[in-house]
Amino acid sequence: MTAWDFLFAPFVEFGFMRRALVGSLVLSAGAAPIGVFLTLRRMSLTGDAMAHAILPGAAIGFLISGLDLFAMTVGGIGAGLLVALLTSLVARVTVLREDASLAAFYLISLALGVLIVSWKGSSVDLMHVLFGTVLALDDAALQFIAAIASVTLVALAVVWRPLVVECVDPGYLRVVSGAGATIHMIFMVLVVLNLVAGFQALGTLLAVGIMMLPAATSRFWARDVGALCAVAILVAAVACVAGLLLSYHANLPSGPAIILVAGVIYLVSVLFGPVGGVVPRLIPAPHRAG
């Protein structure tokens, strides 16, 4: 088999592979920087919780109009935003902290979601919702993913400065501006949108993977926020291409294949990443003079 056969032929020959490639690459561009901010805000598990919170909305959409991406998407966004809103509200007006409040709401949401899916759908359908269908992206789904990625990148560019200030010194933002709560909500909305976009392609569970694994990986390669985002996008893109090729040649499900490739890149980075990886720390390097 030539390199052409291995690397390019699948995409050239099959339309569904091209769609999967475009969809997952565009998704990466939006989701990976969101993941970087989640890790920097010590909210790495928030993405996972929110992904579960989306489930009942998607399930209700599924209940009403079957396996229809539009209905499930609207439902997912609705449920995600509702949980994000309630979480913030409870955290701000009561003694409960944001993380505990989110845990409570996403568990309620998840239980509801499983209940609804098992009430009407079969377990095959549930698998579909949970693990996605990157190889069956239609035009509408691709446009939707592209729209969300565009909104994400523009929104990040606009709120970048207050968002960074909110991460590093929230107290300062509270003194000089009342925008802290708004910025936080905008960010949570972006998290929800990207998870919903991801569940089109990868399913609710794996959507978190393309968001968080490249973000965690980027910490081993870069130091400042802009560079972290760039590395995360690159890693996510490589994982998408390699994962799709792996799934094609080895006849594996594509979603898990993409996330597993991202996982392998993460593990390699943990070991060999130049910024605080295991091996570079073990190699004795003569210290500098100043």
Partner: protein, 259 residues
């Protein structure tokens, strides 16, 4: 042009008025029934034992904590313009943000949420860094700095905030003598410029040597006025009798408003 004028507003006007002010959490006062005022241009040290309500009082002046009762009014300086330096623990020091970006937050008032930075901003940041002895640190990230360097960076940001009212919460704790002295020099400089400065401190020698006015508190105002008359053995002894514990069933406080 009017905008320009605003940015160099007369720094000599900020005053704080307390009217029977009580601040605390969950109906329990951290400090209660504060009456009095801090005059424009004064340099005030707030001292007292741990748990006396010093940080809470500062937080309330900064507008981060509404008083449970009474009123704290800041005159001559909008709330959003107050320069407030909290204790270091509230800042995420592991965040990989370049020193330039961090300090440039101090220009918030002139640059805002979304405005761009021009040459003047670059020069202002470089100038502030040089003033605190960190010239050339612009590209270093916050997570690579030592504790003392972070405190200098925070002071550089205070310089850029150019506020008529500056609130400092234990600004010299855990600093070596040289750093502490350099930063104290900045504080005295602000005082000389006519800004109002309120500082929580623990080092009584430092207070005696440099701060004209002192507020000694122990969940209430024990003594407040000229530093020489406030820091007395008797006054300090009386603060030791302060109860730090919360009593869940403490009766409703029936303090008479009139002095």
């Amino acid at each position: 042009m009017s905008l320009m004028r605003q940015s160099v507003a007369d720094p000599r006007k900020a005053a704080i008025r307390f009217r029977n002010a009580t601040v605390g959490y969950d109906r329990h006062p951290a400090i209660h029934h504060v009456n009095g005022g801090i005059e424009p241009g004064s340099l005030v040290a707030v001292i007292g034992p741990n748990g006396a309500g010093k940080s809470t009082l500062l937080k309330a002046i900064a507008g981060l904590l509404p008083p449970l009762d009474g009123e704290i009014r800041v005159e001559g300086c909008p709330r959003r313009r107050v320069a407030y330096l909290p204790q270091q623990s509230e800042i995420d020091r592991s965040f990989p943000i370049p020193v330039f970006d961090f300090i440039a937050m101090g220009l918030w008032r002139s640059v805002g949420l979304f405005g761009g930075f021009d040459r003047r901003a670059d020069e202002a940041v470089a100038g502030a860094l040089a003033t605190v002895g960190l010239a050339g640190f612009e590209r270093r990230t916050l997570d690579t700095l030592s504790g003392g360097q972070v405190q200098r960076v925070l002071f550089a940001r205070l310089i850029l905030q150019d506020s008529p009212l500056i609130l400092l919460d234990e600004p010299f704790t855990a600093l070596d003598d040289a750093t502490s002295e350099a930063l104290l020099g900045l504080v005295l400089g602000w005082h000389a410029e006519g800004r109002t400065v309120v500082t929580v401190l623990h080092d009584l020698h430092q207070v005696r040597d440099h701060f004209p006015t002192t507020m000694l508190i122990a969940r209430r105002v024990v003594a407040w006025g000229d530093t020489r008359t406030v820091i007395t053995a008797d006054a300090l002894r009386s603060t030791r009798a302060m109860t730090e514990a919360w009593d869940d069933h403490a009766p409703i406080c029936r303090h008479e408003d009139a002095p």
